[in-house]
Symmetry: C2
Subunit: 167 residues, 2 copies
Amino acid sequence: MNNFTFTKLSYGVYVITSWAEGGRPTGCTANSAMQVTSSPATVAISINHDNFTNACIKNSGMFAINVLGENSSPAIIGNFGFKSGKDSDKFTEKPELRDFLPIVDGAIAYITCKVIDAMESETHTVFLGEVIGAEIIDENDTPMTYAYYHNVIKGKSPKNAPTYIEE
Amino acid sequence: MNNFTFTKLSYGVYVITSWAEGGRPTGCTANSAMQVTSSPATVAISINHDNFTNACIKNSGMFAINVLGENSSPAIIGNFGFKSGKDSDKFTEKPELRDFLPIVDGAIAYITCKVIDAMESETHTVFLGEVIGAEIIDENDTPMTYAYYHNVIKGKSPKNAPTYIEE
């Protein structure tokens, strides 16, 4: 098996947001998000068990997919991807809420979801979400692909990402 | 809800292959595939109930993700995306097999999987597959993204695709 084969799957770059206990907004970066059904609209995301956001989604039963664009600040990925929301407030300012979910400043689109099912693997949970709301914030920016993040921004995978390859 | 928000999620373009009863190779195009865990490697795909390949994956318990590249022939998408394997042989010639699964001629990489779990939504099944094998066939071609298929090849979504939008 050639582990680099997995780099041939194409993804976007997202911040998955939810609520920690006590009404504290949190989130983490993810590239594993896909639409499952169109009508009614459902989406699936994959989140590592070790991500604080995983427990927050389980407890709150809701999450939002914040789509990053090529012009979104790389600082968003640094903030949401490379530290834990358990120990730190990733939202330093009170976020905008859509359908009661925190939206990341700089996202080009968002999809808000209610968890309707979940499937466990050894390290990750695949959440199936029924879409509550979905809006485009910036029509002009191009959605950032994971390939763009790797090749142009020269970003790396956090260790908890499904796409992480040990070097 | 703005249904065009879903076009902001990024995908690749794949042919999911499996076996029909009687040892007949079949498959369908898909854009909803994502890696779920890295070690052991698992992937998730979403396949419409109406796709003949759905029942074939359920019956055989296995599938392969064939990754298409920007230089892969658009005829592959036409062949696997816009007719049903129930009524026709999508493989006109005996395909190459990898890990007992049919591989599409023209794919740039493949990931072969054993089904270990499944989650049902109203219209689609999300299959969780444990990866048996994964190899790159053509290192030089760039994986086709769904955006590339839409914008450059000017392709459309088949009606069974999660990303189908009624026009």
